[in-house]
Amino acid sequence: MADTEEWRRVAALSDIPADAGFPVTLGGTPIALYRVEDAVHAIDDVCPHAFALLSQGFVEGGTVECPLHQACFEIATGRCLSGPATVDLRSYAVKVDGGDVYVRAP
């Protein structure tokens, strides 16, 4: 079934720190994995404002703050919560299986 082929293993669960993002690529696109409580989320890693890597930003209470200009995004959805960025990040479906993290290409 085509659906199963869309899942790509991108990391081990143990790669993802509790307090920071973990950068990976999915078909050439930089994305970042985060843990929020027991869930793993995947969102675009490049801030749409000035192209900083959000995986080098600051994770606080389910949000990530851009390391350069303080735009904030909701990790679970990619929603832009505050500027200077003005658009949301793409969010990717994630599944964890046996210690491995899979992300589904959109």
Binding site: A50, Q56, G57
Partner: protein, 347 residues
């Protein structure tokens, strides 16, 4: 922009003696000297009478005598003698600054003297700790102090400015970086794993194979940057906290604004291996000094650019995370200091 309620390094302890030393700190002229018992003194470098710098005068016992008309000041800055005049007005007094000698440096408090607690002096014990070999020095820089802070918080420049000494291309391209922040502190941790050692490390550490190298930059306001740097042979466990078979050094920086466009740059280099070997201490120092001269050339040229077009737009890149966090802290502390000053003034 200056922060006032902080201890700053004003001089090396050895340059202050029985001959008055003039130095501008945060835009204020200050004269330094020692009393006969060796205690350091700092006060405003301007006679209350006709504004001649008191540093042009001479010491008469523990009093500093103005070169122009012979007014004498005691260690508190109080005028205690006016030639040809018996009565001395109580306002015949220059501003005195708290000073403390520590780590081979003379520290000065430029803010409210009531807040001048020596316990707030930033720790630089590596400079006079028997477990370390160290040498410190001074550079005069024709540039704003924050340009120097920026430089030390983003060490990717080592790959380009210092490729003959402490840098190599591995630094910019093969590093993992983590920035942590607290209300008044930024720490930038950079690991370069399984890469060739840079020239200086090969010279002083004798590395013959690839190394795991670290740079841990600790920023404390207003302008103290203490760098824990070193390398061990790859695979011996330094990233896990086990540092064996390599070298650890501290690069220690205390920047004191002279004016908005000039800075006093006090710095030192300490090493934790072969600590009694003065020849080694000198060799390491000279390598780092060579690199620092290269930095000073950069600062000076940056300042010239900024003089021509002040506050130009600038691009921020990924490597700027530490720089930006530190600048935000400094801006916030400045706002807080100004707000407190205005509140006091309004009372």
């Amino acid at each position: 922009m200056f922060l006032r309620n902080y201890w700053y390094v004003a001089a090396s302890a050895s340059e202050v003696g029985r001959k008055p030393l003039a130095r501008i700190i945060l835009g204020e002229p200050v004269v330094f000297f020692r009393t006969e018992d060796g205690a350091p003194v700092a006060f405003e470098d301007r006679c209350v009478h006709r504004h001649l710098p008191l540093s042009m005068g001479k010491l008469v016992g523990d009093r500093l005598q103005c070169h122009y008309h012979g007014l004498q000041y005691d260690r508190s800055g109080q005028c205690v003698r006016i030639p040809g005049q018996d009565r001395i007005p109580p306002n015949a007094k220059v501003k005195a600054y708290p000073v403390v000698e520590r780590y081979g440096w003379l520290w000065i408090w430029m803010g409210d003297p009531a807040l001048a607690d020596p316990a707030k002096i930033t720790d630089f014990h590596w400079l006079d700790d028997a477990n370390w070999g160290a040498k410190s020095s001074y550079l005069y820089v024709n540039a704003n102090w924050q340009l120097i802070v920026d430089n030390l918080l983003d060490l990717t420049h080592l790959a380009f400015v210092h490729e003959t000494t402490i840098g190599n291309s591995a630094l910019a391209e093969h590093a993992t970086v983590k920035v942590t922040r607290a209300p008044n502190n930024v720490v930038v941790t950079r690991w370069i794993i399984d890469q060739p050692a840079p020239p200086t490390f090969v010279k002083v550490g004798g590395f013959t194979s690839n190394v795991d190298r670290w740079q841990i930059i600790d920023f404390a306001p207003p302008a103290f940057l203490r760098l824990d740097v070193g390398a061990t042979p790859t695979g011996t466990g330094a990233p896990q906290g086990r540092r064996v078979g390599g070298i650890t050094m501290r690069n220690l920086n205390a920047i004191t604004p002279e004016t908005e466009k000039t800075s006093h740059y006090f710095w030192g280099q300490a090493h934790d291996f072969d600590v009694k070997n003065a020849v080694l201490t000198e060799k390491i120092f000279e390598q780092i000094q060579t690199a620092f001269y290269e930095d000073v050339a950069v600062f000076t040229a940056q300042q010239r650019s900024l003089d021509l077009i002040p506050d130009p737009p600038q691009l921020d890149i990924n490597a700027d995370t530490g720089v930006i966090q530190a600048r935000r802290i400094l801006a916030r502390l400045h706002e807080e200091e100004q707000a407190a000053l205005h509140a006091t003034a309004a009372e």
